[in-house]
Subunit: 384 residues, 2 copies
């Protein structure tokens, strides 16, 4: 096992009726900015519930944070928050809203150009505290300190992180996910699945707890993902998916093990150039990536085949083939195409994506820091 | 899944050479009290390493915290800390030292009689911050807010908890466990195992992540426990056990599920009256407890039999028998007797233990709050 630091101070309030607890979680007399996305939380009543829970606070609202939150949008939130002297941010939505709100949180007190937080990794020295009400389990943003922000004008999609942007609390009410469109449910399951794979399917370091936890999350997604599509109002199914997605990217299963993230980095470029949902890019890239890197990931692929897909009898190479194919079929079974062609991207897209990776310096990715443009080309070609 | 709050702010520094990081974790200019137990950290060099890492701080020491830390001892630590205006406590040891230090932490600023924190559940309104250097993985105290303290004069062993006594940080260096006596290694494994069982083996609430995590911890202990006894300097084995013991009682696997703890409550009384190590009481009580309550725990016992002990083929009642018997044999294989007689306690001990339970109001224990003196009598009789 590798040395590690694990620290996750986010307070999780999980279950039915939790929004009423908001009042106790936000410091009295705060000037609160509720940030959110499109209209879903308006339509399903979540926003009114939040507004009601916040009676007594001075409340402002910043709607319009889009999927793959845009710097151009968020900077308007920063302006509003500075103008209104906001001292607490409440993100109500999925990973995009929470990620965007983390950026707003860090950008409000930032002295220089906020874009530097993303483009130059400028150090975040202070941040306005934030909390979240999660409505879409997927990214884990509700219990971590990462965010990814896009800039439309330059087709950039860049991450940042800071210990200052952990949500102080996150409210996870599975009932708030009953009305999710099937596509968002599906994308959330795929996103969480890929998060686990990036931290699990590398090379063994005899980290048994982390491996068993990762496998438990994958098994839960495989069992519960299809059910969520069939029975959208099954509370326990929604609860299991919600808690899995949070655990999938809160630092726990990454503690003490190598991590990969090459699939994500290629995926980000596909989103930046072609606008696919994050999970769609993962559904395309991940199975192809595993085929390309089956030698370096051999031992963990065999463990994955056995413990997650119960493949024990065939020769090793066959078990690996089957595990990768089952992964791809799982994504397809949820309704996500797993080929670039399924999203209208052809061979001519490959150099476009490669040049994006090159421009962002993504030339030594993966658990061995050895995955570069050649590997990316091979992966994308297999994914055509 | 039940509603839950999960919040665990302890910062874990895991791995080799971590004691050198102490300086960064404790606020500058702190007046630090190092608390510890017997001589082992003196003999194996851990204490000198800590002293060296704390050069520059004003440091006091409070040795002599015994296994099952005694109120009578700890109160002397409280006096010392008050006298020397200590503002940071550093517990160096296992669960007893950390538990005892949590009590000191809460008692220092406590206005009334500190015993009330234990005997009357008096509310802890402030506490001196503490950190820990863990040398014995077992209780999980390094990453939770519970403590159990004994009072010799009255044969009490009582728990308390407060969000104020989470360690600010805990240093977990597996190398510091290489020199543990086999008996302490064994007891740590049994203790962690029983902690998981108390939170897992109740009744199903379809909490899949929690179940899989619990099963992963149990499997790790079954795989690694015997190895730790055979290869005490195997780093990965020690690391896996250390991380498992921490995860076994940090709130994670208890989130959203029913918990039992009847085995622990009976065990505490056995320790208070007969001086057995905590884990020894668990090794005795747990298998008998599972036999007595096999009907109410049936579904989870079958799940446990299948997923932990790989028992799939025999009829259900046989699988349950076998799972309980495997549990008992596992404890025996580590060298722990699983009968009261193995510790020189006969039938005449049963009314003694029952009267202790009665005196402490332990009359409605377990996940259904229905386990009382009759059940305890049956359990102890089966454990003779």
């Amino acid at each position: 096992m590798k040395n590690f630091v694990f620290h996750n101070p986010t307070r999780i309030l999980f279950g039915k009726g939790r929004i009423a607890d908001l009042k106790k979680e936000i410091p009295a007399n705060s000037r609160v900015l509720i940030t959110y996305g499109g209209g879903s939380i308006l339509r399903n009543g979540t926003l009114s519930e939040i507004r009601e829970a916040l009676s007594g606070f001075t409340v402002f609202e910043f709607p319009g944070i889009e999927p793959n939150p845009a710097y151009e949008t968020l900077i308007q939130g920063v302006d509003l928050a500075r103008r209104e002297k906001i001292d607490f941010l409440l993100a109500a939505g999925g990973g995009s809203v929470i990620d965007g709100t983390k950026f707003i949180s860090a950008a409000i007190p930032f002295a220089g150009a906020p874009w530097d937080i993303l483009s130059k990794n400028a150090k975040v020295k202070s941040a306005v505290p934030l909390g979240s009400v999660l409505t879409l389990p997927a990214t884990g943003s509700e219990m971590n300190n990462f965010a990814v922000v896009s800039r439309k004008s330059s087709a950039d999609k860049l991450p940042f992180s800071s210990p200052l942007v952990y949500p102080r609390f996150s409210i996870l009410d599975p009932e708030k996910t009953f009305t999710l469109p099937p596509k968002e449910t599906r994308n959330g399951v795929i996103d969480a699945f890929a998060h686990v794979i990036e931290q699990y399917l590398t090379f063994p370091v005899d980290a048994r707890v982390q491996d068993r936890f990762a496998e438990g999350l994958l098994l839960t997604l495989i069992e519960e993902g299809p059910k969520a599509l069939k029975e959208p109002e099954n509370y326990d199914v929604r609860a299991n998916i919600m808690w899995t997605a949070t655990m999938a990217l809160n630092g726990l299963i990454a503690a003490g093990v190598p991590t990969d993230w090459a699939t994500h980095m290629i995926g980000h470029e596909i989103t930046a150039k072609y606008g696919l949902a994050h999970a769609e890019t993962l559904a395309v890239v991940l199975p192809a990536m595993l085929r390309v890197r089956r030698a370096e990931k051999r031992e963990k692929l065999l463990q994955y085949a056995e413990r997650v897909w119960n493949l024990r009898d065939d020769p090793p190479e066959t078990r690996i083939d089957q595990a990768i194919e089952r992964t791809r079929q799982f994504f397809e079974s949820l309704g996500a195409p797993t080929r670039l062609s399924g999203y209208g991207i052809g061979e001519d897209g490959i150099p476009v994506i490669l040049s994006q990776l090159e421009r962002h310096g993504m030339l030594a990715l993966g658990e061995h820091a050895s995955f570069g443009l050649d590997g990316a080309r091979e992966t994308l070609t297999l994914a055509l």
